[in-house]
Symmetry: C2
């Protein structure tokens, strides 16, 4: 008997859809806690201030099926979304750069609900090596390659300064890491079989700046 990792029919989902899925997941889990057994896309849409049809299409792309007049089973929707995102299994990851941001990420418990567990951190600063931050050991950079290979680590998180980002990325790739979560503003150059996702605060700030400016209104100013 054949068994696909992706059980039921799953359609392709675009990036916008993928980005919205965690939002639904968060609300659904809240509802689950409150023992709410079914939920309509209308409700989810209201909570997130988006159109119901968007939610319907997004959820549908995970393979979840609803019942007219009733909606989706909370538990099933959660299961489908988590499975779609691959969050039903926790993957172990290495983090490089135990600075302010790196430490904050290590301290964030929520990632385990998102399929990610940071199990070791690496730094080149001797003062940090040997320390334990939020229960995670900080090791010497030199140990990364062997350890990554031995433990079959596939995900790396980069929190170093921009100038060292590419260097760290190269080491990770060489060590067999296949997915890089990049918290620097640098566009990493990686081989085709390695994926990377840039978490760029400056782009979010740019959007906020422009939104604010357009709200305040670019009124003409009368000079004296």
């Amino acid at each position: 008997m054949k068994n696909s990792i992706r059980d039921n029919e799953q359609r392709k989902a675009g990036i916008p859809t993928i980005k919205r899925l965690p939002q639904y997941l968060r609300i659904l889990k809240d509802l689950e806690k409150q023992d709410v057994e079914t939920v309509s896309t209308t409700f989810l849409a209201q909570e997130l201030n988006i159109e119901p049809i968007v939610v319907r299409k997004d959820i549908a792309s995970t393979g979840a099926e609803g019942k007219p007049r009733i909606g989706f089973t909370t538990k099933e929707a959660i299961k489908k979304i988590e499975h779609f995102l691959g969050w039903d299994n926790v993957t172990e990851a290495f983090l490089v750069g135990a600075g302010n941001l790196g430490s904050a990420l290590m301290g964030y418990q929520g990632f385990q609900n998102h399929g990610l567990k940071i199990i070791a951190a690496f730094d080149k600063d001797d003062k940090k090596i040997g320390q334990e931050i939020h229960g995670i050991k900080v090791l010497s950079m030199e140990k990364l390659p062997n350890l990554a290979k031995r433990m079959h680590i596939h995900i790396g998180v980069i929190c170093v300064d921009a100038e060292h980002a590419q260097e760290v990325s190269d080491i990770m790739v060489e060590a067999g890491i296949k997915a890089i979560w990049n918290f620097t503003p640098v566009k990493l150059k990686t081989p085709d079989d390695v994926v990377s996702q840039k978490e760029d605060l400056s782009s979010g700030l740019a959007v906020l700046s422009v939104k604010l400016a357009s709200k305040l209104g670019f009124v003409d100013i009368e000079e004296v």
Copy 2:
């Protein structure tokens, strides 16, 4: 004489364009440091691994003008982008939630190059109040409303737990803050004249997860 805040002709730019602008800015500033006087969109595109036409349209939307065969003046392009984003003036901001992430953000010097200066932090934890983190004082939440009004603060950064996000947002809005940079996964409910931008790590992680899965390939598994 009339004088518009937006000097030359500037066209509307979509969100994708706005998000890319900081990336160009970063490279342009690097080039400026190296005394490179002109730059072509072809070069920028190569650096970022995107199509030249995208860069050309994006830069054009800021009002910068290039010369055929030569490209854009580095300094002018920087000036236009910064102006477009409103990053040529530094705006003071308040941050609420001096936890791991909040502290990391306070420690990040780069925001000043992006028009943002966090000048005070607020927390409800007595142990944190009175402390100074990365040179920024942590004050009692109760002081926020008056201080924000008195200092005409328009930007707020929220780094509290999800469950307190809406509450903090309400306080900020009441205090006259017009733009909220939201680091919680909660969709904030704000009045029409207040803008907010959510910085959602889980959506980035979702994209990375799906990218990785599709790279690894959803191979069929043969059961025993």
